[in-house]
């Protein structure tokens, strides 16, 4: 029987894990011993496109004889048909269930990762709203092997019907563990639903349980046939390899696959926000109450300039122990035990900016909210100091430069960037661009997107997560 693999797709884990280490836009807490502000490109990535439309990006790094090889499909949960939530992620699991393609060999169900491991490498995959990615990190001597394997399942999936039933149990269990047994994840899911009415981002990547239970072989293979094609993907290779070598290998492997007829991305759009929605949840295992607000804000693709300013704003508000929110709520007021503001610029449609905190014993989430609102008002009315701005920009630039030094990091960042609609050039010149952000711009984006007193057309939702109430409190919230 097929061994149940923890393919663990899962965006949440992977994105935050990798992002915290690698992504310039997301990393926190980096050392600020400032490098010289960069003038050259971040990755010196090289790119070419095969005749079948597959864009290939290579980031050379010869420090160790290892490569990371990734394929990013421009399809994710937000491209699913209605009623089939979870199919993008389910398919990602099923992509390990056997393949055969002329000239690219065959792999039996469940063997893919075993082969990678037998060659000393590791592999995984993850699914998000806008993309699905597969990768291997392996000795550069075996790059051709994994390229052949990955290319082989781009159009050559041979999915046994029985694999679908057994793997469905895996994704359902995954949902139980990651969402349904985790009040914080449930809470985030509810906030996302409220923040994105009539838009697919409101549906969780992993899917709604009752819809996941019904996902079929036909759903998976139909989705695969529609979206998996070289002209709907990016190939990113980083590490110990030259662009010439990758070109030769890509032509021998991915080059065998014809262009597909991929439908244009067509997503529904949310109606204007004319009311303020809030979500309150009480859960028996919650110990400390949490306040979380989620805003819709422009992604890098939608508005590169405002997105850069939001990245600086994020660093000023939540860039470690000297950041504004931490200093105010945790150190000075002692209202919150933790606080965060996070903005993920990588989205095809609207990005999400989340701000929130966990209340200290004796405080309510409403008090955390009020303290956060005070900091936002201070930012909007008072702006940021030049020194504060400069330090935040330097910390961000430092993170970008350190990102060069890993093998997998560049492939990850290049992938996020391209697959969510920004360009390689945007990425390469990011340190110079972030340096152009002014104090005025930071203040302006705060006023434009984060104003807690704005008319309700500013799209945000408020969330309050409470521990179980004592009898005496029962009528309070």
């Amino acid at each position: 029987m097929i061994r149940l693999r923890p393919v663990l797709p899962v965006f949440f884990l992977m994105l935050f894990l990798c992002a915290a280490i690698l992504s310039p836009a997301l990393a926190k807490e980096a050392d600020v011993a400032a490098p010289t502000p960069p003038t050259d490109k971040v990755f010196n990535a090289q790119t070419f496109t095969l005749d079948n439309g597959l864009q290939v990006v290579v980031v050379e790094n010869r420090s160790i004889p290892v490569v990371t090889h990734m394929v990013w499909y421009r399809v994710g949960a937000a491209d699913e048909p209605p009623g089939k939530s979870g199919i993008a992620h389910f398919l990602e699991h099923l992509m390990f269930k056997g393949q055969s393609y002329p000239g690219l060999g065959e792999i039996a169900p469940g063997e893919f990762s075993k082969i990678v491991r037998s060659l000393g490498g590791n592999d995984n995959a993850f699914t998000a709203q806008d993309y699905t990615a597969y990768f291997q990190t392996i000795s550069s001597a075996h790059l051709e092997t994994v390229m052949r394997m990955e290319a082989g399942r781009m159009r050559g999936l041979q999915l046994p019907r029985e694999a679908v039933d057994s793997e469905r149990l895996v994704i359902l269990e995954e949902r139980r563990q990651r969402i349904d047994n985790d009040p914080r994840a449930q809470f985030d899911e509810q906030l996302g639903e409220a923040l994105f009415p009539n838009h697919p981002y409101g549906t969780p990547v992993i899917g709604w349980f009752h819809e996941m239970e019904q996902l079929s072989w036909e759903d998976a293979t139909g989705f695969y046939q529609r979206y998996y094609a070289p002209n709907n993907a990016y190939l990113v290779v980083s590490g110990d390899v030259s662009v010439e070598d990758v070109r030769a290998l890509a032509e021998k492997t991915y080059g065998l696959i014809p262009k597909g007829d991929v439908p244009e991305r067509a997503r529904t759009i949310s109606p204007p926000f004319i009311a303020r929605t809030s979500v309150k949840m009480t859960h028996p295992v919650v110990k400390e109450p949490v306040f979380q607000r989620e805003y819709r804000a422009p992604s890098a693709r939608q508005n590169a300039k405002d997105s850069l300013a939001l990245q600086v704003l994020e660093e000023i508000m939540d860039g470690g122990s000297t950041s504004r929110l931490y200093k105010s709520l945790v150190v000075e007021k002692k209202i919150a035990s933790s606080v965060s503001l996070s903005y993920i610029s990588f989205a095809w449609d609207d990005a999400t900016l989340a701000v929130g905190g966990t209340a200290m014993d004796g405080f309510t989430p409403e008090q955390v909210e009020a303290a956060i609102d005070d900091e936002l008002r201070l930012l909007i009315t008072g702006g940021v100091r030049e020194q504060e701005l400069k330090e935040a920009i330097l910390r961000l630039q430092a993170q970008a430069i350190y990102a060069r030094d890993s093998v997998a990091g560049p492939a990850m960042v290049v992938g996020y960037t391209l697959v969510t609609g920004s360009s390689l050039d945007d990425l390469e010149t990011w340190p110079q661009q972030i340096e152009t952000v002014t104090a005025k711009q930071v203040q302006d984006v705060a006023a434009k997107y984060l104003n807690p007193d704005a008319p309700t057309s500013t799209p945000f939702v408020n969330g309050y997560l409470y521990p179980p109430q004592t009898k005496a409190e029962e009528k309070a919230p």
Copy 2:
């Protein structure tokens, strides 16, 4: 040029208008001079089905020489494809834009209603989440003419492309007037959206403005071709006509149309409610604050028994000036200037039960909410008195009996009933069934569906509509 007709579909208007006059389940304030509890059928409706699958229902009423002729299609806004909200209603408008069918004649664009009026009749149409209906009320001498006309557009719509652009302006204007210029309607729309995540009832029948703007000739004719067919419709004729006459006429007209290949109804389902959502809206033209809570409750189709008890509950809580909510909030506490509880049992999926009130000067919607919750708790813990139950049932039965006496009323009620999945027998024996509802059942459904203190899995959302705030109040809600 085509004259822009106020086709005014609109469910809201029609349903409430007709329902208030006619529907046993919805009517209020009827005289309670009790008729003998009925033992015979309400309408003595007769029914037969044509070979093409069209079910026909006839309610004879010879009091005046007039008939109401209605066609109910089992398709509505909740059957629309994603991103095409409003297409069911838009098509309803476009159904007046020209037709031609072999054996059933031709009608030029815009002529349909003129012909009806020239014969001394009137006609209209309306669209709801679960159905679309067209009707004429006319001298019984002209029944054949309107049957031929209505049958002729069942498969014979000849929609000119230019009609789509001009009529789109009409529906957009309709949305502006009925929703976007009416804070109460906007508020209801927001509540509906929050109450039905991942279910099409969360999308307004009229559509989202930005999607309505994009609706095309292809969208309208595609929807029409897919759903308009005799086997996806009910024909209801009430008034001065015999079942034999209707059968002969139906065979000559609707009988010419072949059965269609109609897709099965497939709607997405909401995930479980695990958090409590509330919606707050402030609007410059609102004078008095409003509290409104909307629950999901079983429809008659889903749970006939609980639905009957909810109908009695509605009558007890809001059946005129002696009802519980009015007496408590308006007369005694003087917290609210008006209050209501309404339950519409006619739905294919979950029904909505709404309870709310408008605050008196000096009171907040939160105080109205608290007073309503007190009444609900009283009902749940204390139940209802036998006398109260008996009177409510008698009032409901009286309304059913009076409903017989109109011409259009029976056609309307028969249509609602069948098209939302209940049977003619359910309708005919409704007065006997409602009589079986016990005090215990009313108390039980209150506890099961309306408990304000229940765990969040009881699906409801709270709404608060505020007048513009004075400067001093600005930070309050």
